[in-house]
Symmetry: C2
Subunit: 325 residues, 2 copies
DNA sequence: CTGAAAGCGCTAACAT
DNA sequence: ATGTTAGCGCTTTCAG
């Protein structure tokens, strides 16, 4: 068995409570004792059992994160932010992939609840009733989904789409298609709000989908966009946009000469595509860090509830250009 | 506070041990009692505290996974396999990103040790001494790194490279460049072994690097490859290969007409690149699942130590072609 | 400033 | 088949 606090106490010739204090509440023990205890602990390679500690303190020093789909590169980048910030705060992270399914997500939250201090839900796919079920289980911070009276980190989704629309309008486009993401996606609804901006420009918007947020869906959508007669397309996310690009290339439709394409998320591969993809940068990693901060604040009962939406920024690259005449 | 086993016991009019048994060892309790207890537990929304259980059983039902870099899409796909298989086996997973650093990795293992039953190390970057330090802490299964007498899941790295070499030789290439990955990478050493195959074909191989396994490194390497006069390049991984492709496009070097490019990992974006990338498929998700199985076997003291290497397969796409004459 | 003792939620002997 | 009891490793009163 591993070395316990008892072993350290014995070796240092003190009681377990002294060891505990020397390590967790240094100010409560005499300098000399503290030094000795710490030295012994170090020598023995003692590491407190956090599970045992959690049992009594009610704090596990663990955070949970649930994402809809790990293979979408947007989530790993967010995860990386969560990871990094959590480690700085000496917390470990539990990860789960809900496979784009609200019911699974709810089950995952319940399963995690006892082992974590709080959980971060990225782009939660849960329905209202599902949400209701888990809300009391454990403190939750949402990323990219606003839930009344619940802390969340939101990216400016509508603003991003709005910028995309302005950009396309400035390029002379009169008819754009929007490729909807999953129906359960809150961000999809937000992004649609940004599309209203099109009216101001007298731009027509054709809604397509909903689609699964995948490359293949983008390929499928490309043909629909062409058939609809749009000269520009805004996709729910980059992965779909990349699919559009691929299918367009296959069909010999030049981008951006005959079709402009805009994505969302600024995943790393957006910049590596040919042509490089114009996209809305949602700052995933930053959002991940912010979510951890918010959660920690909530746990400390500091007020971290309200945070301004993170700013999003349109990154103009080579996939958008003047409307064909 | 949440509902505990005591609450259930009281509500069901039985002792806590009966509740415990009804839930964990159903055969030890009368059918009728079991049903009643379970009903009550269900009604109260009881969920056993796994940390408390772990304290006594010594099993946490948690697995740890450490990957070098989450933003490399190869790891999320592996992670997805781990995730899925772990869930099937009712285990949760702790995730950490070592940032390509062996020392951090060692620290992470130590930090996780107490809260997990075992850990899976993907493409471990630890040095031998670092390894030595953590090996006793907790059962470990390696993915893509062979450690004597330790269970591991290995992909056939050398075989993959060998296939790539054969493929290029068949296309008439006489001089290829290999883009080395990080020095600490075991897979890099393995992949080099496969390069020996070049002798048989009388093919010259120029070694470049080591490089960080990133897109930017690929861009940088592309110019070096050109300067070296090679007609083909095998990159340590797909992300680098994509960088090569991008830089080559920028410099107006046609692929594969003037340069053939081979990657490794078959990340999803390899197929989406232009031209689509020829690459070695290492079966990441499958490896993730296999690692969980192996770990579970080790924990159950079934012998899961030895497993045949997973097969790798060259996926020929558009980025390789006949050598220029 | 330090030690003894209680107990977090649970399981595993040991009784009955 | 079920209840009682003793801890798992730790923190935290409560005494000294």
């Amino acid at each position: 068995m591993a070395v316990t606090i008892q072993d350290v106490a014995k070796a240092a010739g003190v009681s377990v409570s002294t060891v505990s204090r020397a390590l967790s509440s240094p100010e409560m023990v005499r300098e000399e004792t503290r030094a000795r205890v710490r030295a012994v602990a170090e020598r023995l390679g003692y590491r407190p059992n956090l599970a045992a500690r959690g049992l009594i303190t009610g704090r596990t020093a663990n955070l949970g994160v649930i994402v809809p789909d790990l293979t979408n590169p947007f989530f790993p980048s967010m995860l990386k932010g969560v990871q990094a910030r959590a480690r700085e705060a000496a917390h470990a992270v539990f990860l789960a992939d809900s496979q784009e399914d609200g019911a699974q997500e709810a089950g995952l939250v319940a399963a995690m609840a006892k082992q974590v201090d709080g959980v971060i839900l990225c782009a939660s796919r849960m329905t209202e009733p599902q949400l209701e079920e888990v809300l009391g289980l454990v403190p939750i911070v949402f990323i990219n989904r606003a839930v009344p009276a619940r802390p969340s980190v939101i990216m400016d989704n509508a603003g991003g789409t709005r910028q995309a629309v302005d950009h396309l309008a400035a390029l002379g486009h009169r008819h754009a298609a929007y490729l909807n993401g999953p129906r359960s996606s809150w961000t999809n609804r937000e992004r649609r709000k940004g599309l209203r901006r099109a009216e101001r420009h007298g731009m027509k918007v054709t809604h397509l989908g909903p689609f699964a947020p995948r490359f293949e869906a983008g390929q499928q959508a490309a043909d629909l966009v062409l058939a609809a007669g749009a000269t520009a397309v805004i996709a729910y996310n980059d992965v779909m946009a990349l699919g559009v690009l691929a299918r367009l290339a296959e069909r010999g439709v030049p981008v951006p000469a005959r079709m402009s394409v805009v994505g969302c998320d600024d995943i790393s591969f957006a910049a590596m595509a040919t042509p490089a993809l114009t996209t809305v940068d949602l700052r995933g990693e930053q959002a991940g860090r912010a979510a951890v901060d918010t959660l920690l604040n909530v746990l400390a009962e500091r007020d971290g509830t309200r945070r301004p939406a993170l700013e999003s920024a349109l990154i103009v690259r080579a996939s958008t250009g003047p409307a064909p005449t």
